[in-house]
């Protein structure tokens, strides 16, 4: 358990719960109960049944023959894009809605950037008949109109965050303020492996179904559970945490994290947190974050709204600082081209977040015998407008 959370809620020096006292009772209640609730047989039964019947798991581990030929290595795609709602995000929201019910909560709040997590939260709230309020930056509401409409169709109330820079970090602040104002009946479904302990660990556990499936699927296809490398894009880091989870303490499996370089790591318009960040505190967690020398959190940039977060989950900060993970950043342009390439070679249109992970094959070379698993975190439907504008389709 070297790379997983310790009993104080830290990954190495990263993590913890740096929260105002107003949040303490809620976060503490969750901390005391999350593991025992998750381990209840009735919870496991309901969680697994929903993942199977509602989300459509297990998702395939697909051998990408033409992509493999192109890059002269053996590439498998873990098809999280085939999950209901189009991305891995729903694994977490299913888990957390069941958690919220067992904690007796009646009202659900969430933050969203691109709207994927907002849609996944609105979906499970509709499923369970719970009130749902999603905070979304006013600027993102304009940029992501189709997802806003989906949330509304699903019965959620979408509240614009008009403070600060009016994007994901501000939506997260607003969700946290809502939780401060509604301490008794509300559960906050955070959308990635970020926030105060126990959120990073709880979300990682819900997403860990990804690597547990990869293990058994590889065993079936290759005769062994371990790939040589596992690759995922990292915004907050939830799809990556799920894909790495059961391999964290298996050093033979190389872990590769791909961040968004935006217009270039040194362009001033980037979201490559490991390259540009310093240790500090964001949304209740001590982790790497992009900030001014004075400790003010700065606004990141990426063409992909889901990677546009100024921090990174504490697990990933630790993977970076310890050297366990290899961190690579990919520009907007390289990601967009990789998205087109996958579409043409395999007939799969990826989310732009995911395209970042696919782009590393241009520069990071693998041996022909290497088995490389890419976590295909989401599908590109939500990004069609961006693809259309970028390529003049």
């Amino acid at each position: 358990m070297k790379y997983n959370v310790n009993d104080k809620g830290y990954y190495g020096e990263f993590g913890g719960a740096y929260i105002p006292e107003m949040l303490y009772p809620n976060v503490e209640e969750l901390r005391q109960q999350y593991i025992s609730i998750m381990q209840e047989p009735s919870f496991q039964k309901e969680f697994n049944a929903l993942l199977k019947e509602y989300v459509g798991r297990p998702t395939p581990l697909y051998f990408a023959k033409r992509l493999s030929e192109k890059h002269n290595t053996k590439i498998y795609l873990k098809r999280e894009d085939l999950c209901h709602t189009g991305a891995h995000k729903v694994n977490n929201t299913i888990g957390q809605i069941l958690m919220a019910q067992r904690l007796g909560k009646k009202r659900i709040i969430a933050e969203t950037g691109a709207g994927q997590h907002g849609v996944a939260t609105a979906t499970v709230c509709a499923l369970m008949g719970l009130e749902c309020i999603v905070y979304m930056g006013a600027i993102d509401i304009e940029r992501q109109a189709p997802n806003v409409a989906r949330m509304k169709m699903l019965g959620a109330k979408v509240v614009p965050a008009i403070s600060g820079s009016k994007t994901l970090k501000d939506a997260t602040n607003e969700a946290i303020r809502d939780w401060i104002n509604n301490p008794a009946d509300t559960h906050y479904i955070i959308g990635s492996v970020v926030g105060p302990h126990p959120y990073p660990d709880m979300v990682a556990r819900f997403q860990s179904v990804i690597s547990s499936e990869i293990k058994s699927q590889l065993l079936e296809k290759e005769g062994h559970e371990n790939p040589d490398f596992i690759i995922a894009c990292v915004g907050g880091g939830s799809n990556a945490a799920g894909a790495y989870y059961h391999y964290l303490d298996t050093p033979e499996v190389g872990i590769i994290a791909v961040e968004a370089a935006g217009k270039g790591v040194n362009s001033g318009e980037s979201a490559a947190t490991s390259a540009l960040g310093k240790i500090g505190i964001i949304h209740g967690s001590k982790t790497l974050l992009m900030q001014t020398p004075d400790g003010q959190i700065t606004e990141p940039y990426s063409i992909s709204a889901g990677l546009d977060y100024p921090g990174v989950g504490p697990m990933h900060a630790h993977l970076f600082a310890s050297g366990r993970g290899e961190f690579i950043s990919v520009t907007d342009d390289d990601a967009m081209n990789a998205g087109i390439q996958l579409s043409k070679l395999e007939g799969i249109i990826p989310a732009i977040e995911t395209s970042h992970a696919l782009a590393i094959f241009e520069t990071r070379k693998f041996k022909p015998s290497d088995i490389v698993v890419v976590n295909l975190s989401g599908r590109g439907d939500k990004d069609l407008n961006t693809y259309i504008d970028y390529f003049n389709l």
């Binding site: 006292e21 505190i281 004075d294």
Partner: protein
Amino acid sequence: MNRISEKLKENKKILSIYFTAGYPSIDDTVSVLEALQESGVDMVEIGLPFSDPLADGPTIQASSTQALKNGMTTQLLFNQLKDIRKKIDIPLVLMGYFNPVLQYGVEDFCKKCQEIGIDGLILPDLPVAEYKEHYQEIFENYGLINVFLITPQTSNDRIKEIDSVSNGFIYMVSSASVTGGTHGFGKSTKDYFKRISEMKLNNPQILGFGISNADTFNSATKYAKGAIIGSAFIKMLSNEGFKGIKKFIKSIR
């Protein structure tokens, strides 16, 4: 002896004002402090602006955003306050979020506070456990009083723990909310005030959040040693500027 502790010994109710450093204009910090002291305020919390103030409502958020736009930084605030003790003798508390302190360097920050004559710190997102394990010794070495918050949801056991690590006063948040609420105090809030006052804690309590006028100040100080006004003061400052300060304080008591 620390000015906060001295002040708390006086046989009177404490009126404390929060304002954001560098707001409305970058050079206003010292002038606001002078006007507050002249008006007879007992203590001041100087807000160190932060980009992501989680525990604050719209008024304080907006003042922080403006102060940062004006160019406020931790170092600049320290420079502005360099000679403050030649002019101001009431207790001064810095209130802010932990990240800017961490980036300045916790020990350097505390040292600077001592040099200037800052008496205490309120860092709402520095949790008790972290404080005890890593920072209590540093804060105390530099003579700083650290102030923790309690809320209506805080359990009695936790209140006792907070009381035991506190060395000045406890910041009693009036209701489950971010700063800037304006509703008066209902029965359940008064029950909470009573419950805490009956706990006979070692540290006196000063009430904050939702104190906006003489009415709320009086009902708060019926149970607590004092009260803190933040958002209402900042609103007044935005509307009326310095010239409103005296009148505002007079209207409270």
